[in-house]
């Protein structure tokens, strides 16, 4: 929080007054330092919107074009800034439209507070107009949720909501507020929540477990680190880098861990997982100690669990005790905050380098380069590749851009080839794999960190899932850069159909509209390119633009993303073609 926001917060907290529930909602948001929220009005949330109108100089409401867009925008805001993203919607369809974004935030541990309006409490359970049991519906996909039926409950519940959303392993919280609670009055006083008695957000690190981890790492001949988003969420980038460098351990990352250590770091050996790099996947089954930090052994990372790192002793650092032994049995579990645990680990580590072991990664990288990367980044065939577009974006943004990718082939290409100098630069839907994520998430990211270059990389399929948010880009004058890699296919599904379903392209070919005309219809600068010689200038023009910019790149129709660990196969059975 900056000083100005802190002062505002103090001001809001110190005032004691009799106000409406809806005004209390707005004052609670301001007390939590919320400067932007995303949403869509409707009957059951109108009193809160009326208050937002009154406070419009202090808190900026962004009207998205769909509630799903609001939820993803709040996610983008949260992911780049580390602050809580806020989304608001009315009851019934407004609330249910938030669900995909909430589920996405839950599986990707994104701090988010969603506020929904609800029918008046006397109508609850009567199938009233636009009534749904949103608390029931959202229960499995929220960290916590609650329905407020009295105005007096609002401050305490919202304070609790923000505390739960951002503490420990973050996640989405939903607060449903009946219309009579919004109209009702209360004596307003706001106290930030500092604890919930049944909830231990950050378990204390046991020094013995850190010692055991250090002993194992010091004795390792072929250690390998796989870090995840827990590093970014725990603000442990520096601690991780110090551990990696002191112990000289080749280190790989999961899709959500990307950018915690710069791509160019000599011990950064690339991405693990289904479309990760060849070396870290292959050598997962050769390391003698596997050190997993802030990652949850997702099935996209492990492939066949019965063949995953069976030769290795496994050390698992995680803030969430329920992740330990959930998928992979560990030899040493270090439960706690990653920043704290790694800081404790560092002095216990021997300074080492594992040069010959690192060389094995480099040798496999050379194979991957020859067989895959060279053709992706320096193609000789006529059609444009997705990889060369990413390469050009790296050149123009100098590796400082935040890349917000949608879901599909282009996402894997973006994660594989983006150069990240700065942390929190890879914003993507990792766990849920939500098509339609990138455009609204990029809007949220750009608004949260206006000084950052934000480039959305989207496929032609995902773009059309939330294309309406171009309206939000235009209305808000959000200078996001939007790149649609158009191959006229649902590319990833088509790739699977080609490889595993005898090229039966069932419902994956897309007849697309004129995207440039649509973008221009929203008064956004737009260009389409189809040839290699147009690429460099077009990307240069896009990055140089001070305003939002839409670039459609017509890429090779049937390119595939390799390497690939086929679904259910072992990570060491990774294919290069």
């Amino acid at each position: 929080m900056n000083t100005e926001t802190e002062n505002k917060t103090q001001e809001v907290i110190s005032k004691k007054m009799r106000i409406s529930g809806s005004e209390a909602v707005v004052r609670c948001l301001m007390a939590e330092g919320v400067d932007i929220l995303y949403g869509y009005p409707g009957g059951a949330i109108m009193p809160v919107y009326d208050e937002l109108y009154k406070f419009r100089d202090q808190i900026h409401h962004v009207l998205t074009r769909h509630e799903q867009g609001a939820a993803h925008a709040a996610q983008g805001y949260a992911r780049i800034s580390g602050r809580v993203g806020v989304a608001m919607a009315t009851s019934g369809p407004g609330a249910t439209n938030l669900i995909t974004g909430i589920a996405d935030a839950q599986i990707d541990s994104t701090p988010m507070v969603c506020i929904t309006g609800q029918v008046p409490s006397h109508l609850l359970g009567s199938d009233a107009f636009q009534e749904t049991d949103i608390v029931g519906i959202s229960t499995p996909v929220t960290k916590w949720n609650h329905q407020v039926t009295k105005a007096s409950e609002i401050p305490e519940v919202l304070a609790k909501a923000f505390y739960i959303a951002k503490s420990g392993r973050p996640g989405p919280v939903l607060v449903d507020i009946t219309k009579d609670a919004q109209f009702g009055e209360l004596d307003f006083e706001y106290k930030k929540c500092t604890g919930v008695r049944s909830y231990i957000p950050v378990p204390k690190t046991n020094p013995e477990s850190v010692k055991a981890a250090a002993k194992l790492i010091n004795s390792a001949k072929k250690p390998m680190i796989v870090w995840g988003q827990g590093i970014i969420l725990g603000k442990a980038e520096n601690e991780l880098k110090a551990v990696v460098e002191k112990a000289g351990i080749p280190s790989a990352w999961t899709i959500l861990g990307a950018s915690a250590i710069p791509t160019s770091h000599p011990l950064n050996i690339g991405m693990v997982g289904m479309h990760g790099n060849y070396a870290p996947n292959k050598l997962t089954n050769e390391c003698d100690v596997l050190i997993a930090i802030g990652m949850r052994f997702d099935d996209r990372v492990t492939g066949d669990l019965t063949k995953y790192a069976k030769q290795a002793k496994v050390i698992h650092f995680d803030i969430d005790p329920s992740e330990i032994d959930k998928n992979v049995k560990t030899d040493v579990a270090v439960i706690g905050d990653s920043k704290d645990s790694l800081a404790q680990l560092l002095p216990l580590l021997d300074a080492k380098s594992h040069d010959s072991w690192l060389q094995e990664f480099k040798d496999l990288y050379a194979i991957e380069f020859e067989q895959v990367i060279k053709d992706d980044l320096h193609p000789t065939k006529e059609g444009l590749t997705m990889g060369e577009v990413l390469k050009q974006i790296n050149i123009e943004s100098k590796g400082d851009a935040a890349i917000v990718s949608d879901v599909g082939q282009h996402q894997m290409i973006a994660c594989r080839y983006s150069e990240f100098n700065l942390t929190k630069s890879n914003i993507t839907s990792g766990g849920l794999g939500t098509m339609g994520f990138a455009l609204p998430a990029a809007i949220g990211a750009k608004m949260a960190e206006p000084h950052r270059e934000v480039v959305a990389i989207i496929g032609d399929g995902g773009f059309q899932m939330n294309i309406q948010e171009l309206g939000t880009v235009f209305q808000q004058r959000t200078p996001v850069k939007i790149v649609v890699l158009n191959n006229e296919f649902l590319g990833m599904v088509r790739q699977w159909q080609q490889l595993f379903f005898d090229k039966r392209y069932a419902s994956t070919e897309m007849t697309n509209p004129d995207f440039v005309a649509i973008a221009k219809g929203y008064h956004i600068q737009a260009k389409r390119i189809t040839k290699r010689e147009e690429l460099a200038d077009a990307v240069k023009e896009m990055i140089a633009s001070k305003e939002s910019y839409f670039l459609e790149v017509c890429v090779e129709k049937e390119d595939n993303v390799f390497p690939m660990v086929p679904s259910g196969a072992s990570v060491s059975d990774i294919r290069l073609s």
Binding site: V135, G136, T139, P140, K143, W144, N145, H146, Q147, I164, G195, V196, R197, S198, Y199, T306, D320, P321, S322, I324, D325, K326
Partner: protein, 177 residues
């Protein structure tokens, strides 16, 4: 990975809040675990509820779902125990036609021998209550079924552990907050 499926009693100490039952049942539902019985009531600690849930699962499943319960914001502590580690009982009620009590003297013998309690008797029916292990209740049901049962209801298992359940530690943690 074919682990033995056993009967586990899951105990979950929680805040007394609306909606928790939903969260708890969703955890079973996602994993396709069928609940054999579920009882919830106030616990030995004021303001703290206790769920006692009986399921047939493997020990590693039990360990994982207890981790998931523990993760819920309003869950204070969760435990799992085998039958050997607990003392447990179930209760049930039978509603039977009053005329049978006099016409079938055998019923009176069954009541005596099984330590079953008569809760009420009126002109139309009488009600029996029995607490015990599932097999005792089932045996009684079989015996009475011969004569005709108007209504039968069995409550979920209630259980206490043989060993200390570290409730003291939990209380201390509460008081320190």
């Amino acid at each position: 990975m074919n682990e033995e499926i056993k009967t586990f009693t899951i105990s979950i100490y929680t805040e007394n809040n609306i909606g928790l039952l939903n969260r708890i049942s969703a955890i079973f539902q996602r994993r396709h675990i069928n609940i054999e019985s579920l009882t919830t009531s106030q616990s030995e600690i004021d303001g703290v509820n206790r769920f006692v849930i009986v399921v047939n699962i493997s020990e590693s499943q039990a360990k994982k779902i207890v981790g998931q319960f523990q993760k819920q914001i309003e869950v204070i502590r969760a435990f799992y125990h085998t039958d050997e580690e607990t003392i447990y009982t179930e209760s049930c009620m039978f509603k039977i036609k009053s005329s049978l009590l006099f016409e079938e003297p055998q019923i009176q013998n069954i009541i005596k021998e099984s330590n079953t309690r008569i809760v009420t008797v009126n002109k139309e029916f009488f009600v029996l209550e029995k607490s015990g292990r599932r097999n005792e209740i089932e045996s009684l049901r079989r015996d009475l079924n011969v004569f005709g049962i108007m209504q039968f209801v069995r409550a979920g298992r209630i259980a206490v552990t043989k060993d200390e359940m570290k409730v003291t530690e939990m209380l201390l943690a509460f008081n320190n907050q």
